[in-house]
Amino acid sequence: MVNLTIDGIKVSVPEGSTILQAAKEVGIKIPTLCHHPDQAVKANCRVCVCEVEGNRLLAAACAQPVMEGMVVKTRTPKVIEARKTILELILSHHPQDCLNCIRNGNCELQDLANEYFIRDNPFTLKVRGLKKDYSTPSLFRDPDKCVLCRRCIEACTVVQSVNALGLENRGVLSMVVPTMGGDLMDSACVMCGQCIHACPVGAIGEVEEIDKLLAAIADPDKVVVTQIAPAVRVAIGEEVGMKTGDMPMDVFVAGLRQVGFDYVLHTNFTADLTILEEGNELLQRLKEGGTLPMFTSCSPGWINFCETFYPDLLDNLSTCKSPQQMFGPLVKTYWADKMGIDPAKIYSVSIMPCTAKKFEAARPEMNASGYRDVDLVLTTREIGRLFRMSGLDFDKLAGTNFDSWMGAYTGAAVIFGASGGVMEAALRTVYEVVTGKTLEDVNFEVTRGITGIKEAEVDLDGTLVKVAIANGLSNARKLMDQVRAGESPYHFIEIMACPGGCIGGGGQPITKANAKRVERIDSIYVEDEKCAIRKSHENPEVKTLYDEFLHEPLGHKSHELLHTHYQAKNKKYL
């Protein structure tokens, strides 16, 4: 242990700790901007400078290791003046555009400017006037707002191994750019949106489409129907001042009705359906010698990744569409028919924790219903904005139920929102289908948690099935390299593009640390425990769907509406 004094307070921390970590131990907050709790030290913004007795120069607290007997002062006039100057210099390159910014009210630079009461910046404003990038349907980039912290680059390279973002040029000319300085769409970007969470400011964000929703709601000829993804509920409360997981589902549904949705249904319904289709697909592949290991196909960021980097393994992907894209065609065929609604009038909106879902819904082939299957995808954050605009008081709002026929769900669908959830849900069903026995304990603890790669072996009445689960694309890459080398021991692999699974998706409330992802995961399993039914094949509305419409998993109708094939992207640069 190393002993030091910070602002007169004695503290003892392990060797190798930084001043920033030591200060946190004793409750002293040192401001940061480029620092990210789950990333490597960058030390490029210098906002965290402190005085160290005996040193002529100020030290960056995020990078400076503590030393025995060190005396640190974090708020002397010299320190405060330096920090103010640093902020003024950063702001002298930053558009003074807070009111119009997607991160207004949720921006680390804005917070710092406020904390250090930056008023009359003595430096002349000099914005570079760089081109905004709206090339993808999911993400936009506004490079003028970039503070060059490089957190997005680490998210894109180290965490996701996509390497779409990098640095161009040097010094004052440097800028974060997609590969070769081109548009995001031409890079290897998979639209996972992890860069959005990493960005301290508004230099990257989701393409906002709330206006399209408002126009549809205002149109008397449209029936606006929505589906909510499993991971949204646990996080939506964060957008309206509640704690993670605290928004009750029925209140959430009531809120959606209040803002103008005509019918509120649930992606969880098609999550359960996915398990029936995908579980049977796995069993078929095992029985008939199909391509193994089979990969899950729920995560559109992962699909983009596989199409981009592993096109040779596309046959391993389950042919099942994602729950969002199963919901799309069903709501305009089966549901429309049951409700007696003209499918041409249905405007199908999905509420997703995900930015890549916007891209997925726009795929040209996603029109199995004869219409655009999903008309609009909104992220959790966009719905959060809509809720805040609506002025709803969620503490006083009386809950309402989902609408019929595509609103019922089981605990197995709920856990789709967390890494390992699809696997666990599949195992709950596959076990009972194969063995004909009742699964007494539905909890497969080994599949849970934020660990990058998890593996398990399940005994299906004598047949051993080996499974693996990866969250975050750098972990997916490890499993894929193994498959490509012909060395994968697994039968079934679940991949979620985002760390922690959908609860950490690119469309979720801005997630500044993995600790928040863990909180949301815990919340998912609490919800699962509360469900009376926890196995997908016991979902009563899914049973009705098969009885009346699909007839059997992997049947003719299923293939027409619920299954698809993906294609190599052949990106120019990887």
């Binding site: 973002l165 640095l167 040097r170 750019v177 590969t179 640069y573």
Partner: protein, 147 residues
């Protein structure tokens, strides 16, 4: 030599990417996107990283430019010694502005930081070769060497 062969000849050298880039530039005067992509493949790096290296160093250019790269020091000692007049002479002689290349692809005009020859300012370099005590009057003769 083809850029692919040039890059391949540095494949086994640790940190060979920068040397490969220099070698490609000796041949082509700049780094075409295809060469950067090829270097990424050969040195097993993402294209974004190979592009980062190609743009980090001012000696490299990812934009097409003239064969003979003239770089004029714009640091203080050369500035005081009359670099601006040298710039004007070069621009006049070649018929292009700083940052541009001649239409026949013979010359590119660029600024550089100090090249460490402050005893004999103003200084220019052409394809890395240093020319000292340059004056507007000397410019035509210097250029003639490369025409």
């Amino acid at each position: 030599m083809d850029y692919k062969d040039i890059i391949a000849s540095y494949a086994d050298k640790p940190g060979g990417m920068i040397e490969a880039y220099h070698a490609v530039q000796r041949e082509l005067s700049y780094l075409p996107v295809e060469a950067v992509t090829e270097a990424a493949r050969v040195f097993n790096l993402p294209a974004s990283a190979a592009y980062g290296v190609a743009t980090f160093y001012s000696m490299f250019s990812v934009a097409s430019r003239g064969k003979n790269v003239i770089r004029i020091c714009e640091s203080a000692p050369c500035h005081v010694a009359g670099a601006a007049e040298v710039v004007a002479a070069l621009e006049r002689e070649l018929g292009v502005k700083m940052g541009e290349s001649t239409a026949n692809g013979q010359f590119a005009l660029e600024y550089t930081e100090c090249v460490g020859q402050c005893q004999a300012t103003p200084v220019i370099t052409i394809n890395g070769k240093v020319h000292l005590d340059v004056s507007p009057a000397k410019v035509p003769a210097i250029l003639a060497e490369y025409k």
